[in-house]
């Protein structure tokens, strides 16, 4: 039995080792149950559907049921969602200042 060749994840790509249950109607690669989605009268893989949604906006409407699908979450997020980048002070919170982080922040009994 062939293995699924889809690598799409919710956030990160990873190899899928599940057994294939069919082939994508668009790219023809073998896909498993988890990576197949109904596409009109056929089945398509996650990668192909994402491409369709991204390149042809009308698919976003016709495939609106995918809005609740974790694999397509980011493809239905509001376009303005990314307009508010974090600032310098926010990034500083993630700086790794090494072993002395806070050593000069002396607060006596209150600062432990």
């Amino acid at each position: 039995m062939s293995r699924c060749r889809e690598t799409a994840g919710i956030l990160f790509q990873r190899k899928c080792s599940a057994p294939a249950v069919g082939a994508c109607s668009q790219c023809k690669k073998p896909i498993c149950q988890a990576h197949g989605r109904t596409y009109w009268q056929s089945v398509a893989c996650v990668t192909c559907l994402r491409e369709l949604i991204k390149k042809q906006p009308q698919h976003k409407q016709s495939q609106a049921h995918l809005r609740d699908d974790p694999y397509f979450y980011w493809y239905y997020v509001d376009d303005h969602w990314d307009d508010e980048p974090y600032g310098h002070d926010d990034y500083r919170l993630f700086d790794d200042d090494g072993g002395d982080f806070g050593a000069d922040d002396y607060g006596g009994w209150e600062g432990t």
Binding site: I10, L11, P70, Y73, V77, D78, W81, E84, Y86, D89, D90, Y91, R92, L93, F94, D96, D97, G99, D100, F101, G102, A103, D104, D105, Y106, G107, G108, W109, E110, G111, T112
Partner: protein, 273 residues
């Protein structure tokens, strides 16, 4: 928090306890340990122990010190009351001040042995934690907990708006000090990596995405790396939150101990004196 829990456990087992805390924390201690005799102490200036405390200590069978076996400002120097230390990770564990304080202890208990921060012959116990998840069910929410930290609060204002725009259930907790008890279990808590928060979340099996904050003695970075999850950038933190919300996964178990276990160790030491 830790001493209030231990004092309560000791009191319930018939040990006479007086809990000394900074005056500013007295209300909190009364809330956490209502059955325990507690006294608020004005933090000493310099290394002089307040007279009333010194007098009280002279008649005590033992002095249990939390975190600072030498006293926060060296105020325990010269105190002859048998000393028992409850220790957690200290960045300055190699300094002579800490070492001298530890040497003055009749016995000490490392409450963060997994962090391998202390190279000394002491007893060891898993970190102590209360139960903070009282609700039976998880509500799938993301709790942003800034603990009164202004910088974290500003980050969480933005992060909260972005998560909310994605349709994720977000809750904010800003207050510092009051006990962290959840009416329902959040799926994820984002916050600092102090001792209590870190191990209480670990004990409850709630995902802890940590943003270590600077502290003069406590090494939140070391603790966060060992027990929670840390991130190099806010975007990475955001992705992890979304991932956990969309695809829940159980948090790996972390061993913790109860306050009663600490009380048992202390009673054992008291009986040996």
């Amino acid at each position: 928090m830790r001493c209030a829990g231990v004092a309560t456990a000791l009191t319930e087992r018939g040990v006479d306890v007086e809990l000394l805390v900074p005056s500013s924390r007295l209300d909190l201690v009364h809330h956490l340990a209502p059955g325990v005799l507690a006294a608020g102490v004005v933090p000493p200036e310099g290394a002089a122990l307040p007279r009333e405390v010194a007098t009280g200590l002279a008649s005590a069978q033992a002095l249990v010190v939390d975190t600072f076996p030498e006293g926060v400002v060296g105020e325990l120097e010269g105190v002859t009351t048998p000393r028992l230390g409850l220790l957690r990770s200290r960045r300055d564990a190699g300094d002579s001040r800490f070492r001298d304080g530890l040497a003055a202890c009749r016995a000490a208990l490392d409450l963060e042995p997994a962090l391998a921060w202390l190279d000394a012959a002491v007893d060891r116990l898993a970190p102590v934690a209360r139960s903070v998840a009282t609700g039976a069910d998880e509500d799938g929410s993301v709790c942003l907990l800034d603990g009164g930290d202004e910088a974290l609060g500003q980050l969480f204002d933005k992060l909260g708006r972005r998560l909310h725009a994605l349709g994720l259930p977000v809750r904010r907790r800003s207050a510092s000090g009051p006990p962290l008890i959840f009416a329902a279990r959040p799926r994820v808590v984002v916050g600092p990596a102090g001792y209590n928060l870190t191990y209480e979340l670990a004990a409850a099996g709630i995902h802890h995405l940590a943003i270590p904050r600077p502290r003069p003695f406590d090494d939140q970075t070391r603790r966060a790396r060992a027990v929670a999850e840390v991130f190099p950038r806010p975007e990475a933190l955001e992705r992890r939150i979304v991932e956990l919300c969309l695809q829940p996964e159980p948090r790996p178990a972390v061993e913790t101990a109860t306050y009663d276990a600490v009380a048992s160790w202390l009673i054992e030491q008291l009986e040996a004196t």
